[in-house]
Symmetry: C2
Subunit: 255 residues, 2 copies
Amino acid sequence: MSSEPVPLRPTVRRADRARQVADILRQQIHSGGIEGALPSEQELSTEFAVSRNTVRDALALLKDEGLIERAPKVGTHVARRKYDHGLDALLGLKEAMRGHGEVRNEVRAAHRLIPPPAVARKLRLEPGQHAVYIERLRWFGELPLSLDLTYLVPDIGDRILTRDLETNDVFALIEEISGGRLGSADLALEAITADAHSAMNLQLPEGGALLLLERLTELEDGRPVDLEYIRMRGDRITMRGSLTRPPERTDWRLT
Amino acid sequence: MSSEPVPLRPTVRRADRARQVADILRQQIHSGGIEGALPSEQELSTEFAVSRNTVRDALALLKDEGLIERAPKVGTHVARRKYDHGLDALLGLKEAMRGHGEVRNEVRAAHRLIPPPAVARKLRLEPGQHAVYIERLRWFGELPLSLDLTYLVPDIGDRILTRDLETNDVFALIEEISGGRLGSADLALEAITADAHSAMNLQLPEGGALLLLERLTELEDGRPVDLEYIRMRGDRITMRGSLTRPPERTDWRLT
């Protein structure tokens, strides 16, 4: 069938074509396929078989996302490396960034509190039982990557309060204290725009996009111990993983 | 240790407390724990042990996200239901929404094209070999949920062009045509702010948050057949799933 004539330039709007080009360039930048300088507008125009105006529109989209920088004479450059956080295995940020560099935690709060009922229920605490609350701004070099709000069950949380929270992942501390491995976690991941205060803390323009992750983590015996609300800078973190097709159609369900 | 005095009101800024309250309320709304009317400011103030001003700040954050509506005398209501898309199994949108209602696809483009080299490489096409491009705006009732850009290998894509694209998931059509099941997919998920044109198509305020998913899907034999760039409205879709801790520390790696 590939010998039939192929319509190469269907009638689509320039904004639609620019989106197509931007999506492909974005992933090439993330994957390291493009580093440093981008090809010229003319080269991109040829590669994508679109007009230079469409190329300019696509580059404007990526510039608005903070992914590239454009300047006269200097040309177009990748402005910002994005880092991958795994969707395949349960990892702390420090573990996920291994091989890239050091994560440092700015501890904004670390204390006991009586958690709201919704938190107490998720952590299976009795009414009135305290939890431990930890809030950390997580830095990678000079870059704030995420703002993490953590609620811990008291038996583990009280001991974590005595540990070095600046350089350790909470996951590593839980495993050290409990003497066992973590089991699994339930995740809910969404995109939100940054409010003014979160944006300020993360040094993000107000209205920038955040990946918001709620994660309830259990020990291997199934006991929930750690409830976190993690705001990750959309321009710094990509969640990456793989999914497998369920074997039978009757098994389709959402968890 | 729970008999020790518990500091209930540590010195934290109101904006920090408002964020804590908003994060918990958000997940209660998503999970259906709160439906319709929210508790009063006074009730929330008691439940979360924060001032009414903090409650108001928290509700303002959720209102800005479009999740709740507030009106004098009417009070505060859940404005918008969010829908879950699975991170545990590879599902098309229609499959994921089963039990909620019907998904309808507005087909914005469906044709052959010579794909850019980066797309051709991912689909393992020869230079100059055509691919099939499909662009769909996906509606759930009166709500646009996502804008999907799809590149398909020619042998399967050419046959998909002859099928009903308005009511079928591409996944279901690929399996029908190939006679086998899909195998797995590689995912990259990020948060971006909506550009003007994508926002218009998705009826989202400009600058609203989008979940952008790049997904490369293979047949069971490992051949990649379907590359998609999916923009999901951040205020309509939550990605939900579970992760398991890798068994040994030496196994830590990112895919």
